[in-house]
Subunit: 308 residues, 2 copies
């Protein structure tokens, strides 16, 4: 069976939404990615870094989801990356109230030997130099390297970012970031420009408006499930990335047709993530719930029109 | 064969977009609705009002699309409604530079006798008192009355608007208007609140982000086709409404399943409207082009996932 290598932050988040606030809870891209991918019963490993203050219980919880945590390096005397943010009333925008990089500032990723010939790699949102470092540690080119990034790296590490973009097969970014990276307002043109930078596949995430998959002129669209209430959007994009790469790992098929299914699974899983604070909903999510909501996705999008 | 009764403005528009500007060209909700509906080879009639200055050639063009123009009243000495607007660079927002109500200020709609027992009525965006007047002139309750409106009437004629909303079967409004009308941010909750005001079906238009159809807890979503370039968004919502009601008129089937198809046809037709200034693209649109783009809609949205 193929395995999934995940690189990304492991963090403490303190989150405030119109519905409530949390103290420090489990956060960071990697746990969201791993929990989402775990829905496909695959083996995965996280490459990351934490401090002394990080509870063993969080690692234990990840291991229960078949996540190899041996490459999450614990730095003696170090403190775990911390992010504090507050969402606005519409939940579409947020203010960062505090960022403490802590051990993430000097992160030297170490890919476990058992993952050096891995088929699928998910490079979660992190400094692009770290993402590149991980690719360079692999013994062979993976079947699929997927990259998630954000505008922060476009502003602060564009040259490194361009290098890693040139090395990956697929990139997932949001609509505003796609526009910033490409200089094109039209997402069709933006995707084409980004494909020219390296990735053969481009996924543009539009939050509550769904996600678009682009590949050589073909386009597929997955809506976001219309929800009564979004409780906490934190981690939705990472959950999407984990669902996407988790499904591809499980099926070991990176055709465009299979990526369509992957993007639907990804949207489906992300729709759960936002229903509770942090990773809470993803930790308890059952296969039955996932299947039921996939049925809702079908009803939401499938139609029959005969063409003449 | 069933027929479609259309009420709406017939106007001159002067439009400026980042791509160019027009002098006075054919505008108003009704011509967009009628041209879009004409793709289904149905008979329709427009109830509206124009001034002396309105070219006969525009009416002739509509008649060539099987649109009955006898109930478009020409007011001697009157001037046609005129709107001038300028779109911002992202084309998602616009400034109204000039509005001359002219003959529309004293519009007394007159439904032609041949349409007083019509099955489908499309009440295009107009003063809700005019929309009500039209419903009151019908000899019997139509099979389906559809209403389009906008925030202007919520701000300025809310009581009349609520009366007409209570009388129609389906309402089409955009996301911000749905929020304003319902007081709910979540579109799922907003649709439920609007259903409680009367219409059994609610369509929420999200522009480039597609459209949602709500009915008693069921939801269907039609994306907007991702376009390389939007040239002029004017009339896209009216074209959507015309495609929707035109398809329902053609098929004479107002089941939820058929409405799904209608909303896909509606999105499909709206995707053409924005490719040129005003009604230009809709006037020249061929059946072959429409069918080809429907195939693109299928490829964009259809997937196969087996549920366990």
């Amino acid at each position: 069976m193929s395995k999934l290598l995940i690189v990304g932050s492991v963090a403490f988040d303190a989150i405030e939404t119109p519905f409530g606030k949390t103290d420090k809870i489990l956060g960071g891209a990697a746990p969201y990615i791993a929990l989402s991918a775990s829905q496909f019963d695959i083996e995965s490993a996280i490459v990351s870094v934490i401090g002394d203050d990080f509870p063993e219980a969080y690692l234990e919880m990840l291991r229960k989801h078949k996540v190899d945590t041996t490459a999450i390096e614990r730095i003696p005397g170090g403190k775990t990356f911390f992010w504090k943010g507050k969402y606005h009333n519409d939940l579409n925008s947020r203010d960062t109230l505090e960022t403490q990089l802590n051990v993430l500032a000097d992160f030297n990723p170490k890919v476990p030997d058992a993952y050096k010939e891995v088929e699928i790699v998910m490079l979660g949102n992190l400094h692009p130099a770290v993402q590149l470092d991980v690719l360079n540690q692999l013994n062979k080119k993976p079947k699929l390297a997927a990259l998630d990034t954000m505008n922060f790296w476009m502003d602060n590490a564009l040259e490194d970012l361009k290098k890693v973009i040139a090395r990956v097969d697929i990139i997932t970014i949001n609509d505003e970031e796609a526009r910033q990276l490409s200089g094109e307002y039209s997402l069709v043109k933006a995707a084409r420009a980004i494909e020219a930078m390296g990735p053969k596949y481009v996924v543009i995430k539009k939050g509550e408006h769904g996600a678009l998959l682009f590949h050589e002129g073909q386009i597929f669209f997955a809506p976001a499930l219309p929800l009564e209430e979004v409780f906490d959007p934190t981690g939705a994009g990472d959950t999407f990335a984990g669902g996407f790469t988790g499904y591809l790992t499980k099926t070991n098929d990176i055709s465009f047709d299979n990526m369509k299914k992957a993007i639907i699974h990804a949207s489906n899983l992300a729709s759960f993530c936002v229903e509770k604070f942090g990773t809470e909903r993803m930790q308890e999510l059952t296969k039955k719930e996932v299947q039921q909501r996939l049925q809702q996705f079908k009803e939401l999008t499938q139609f029959e029109i005969e063409l003449t």
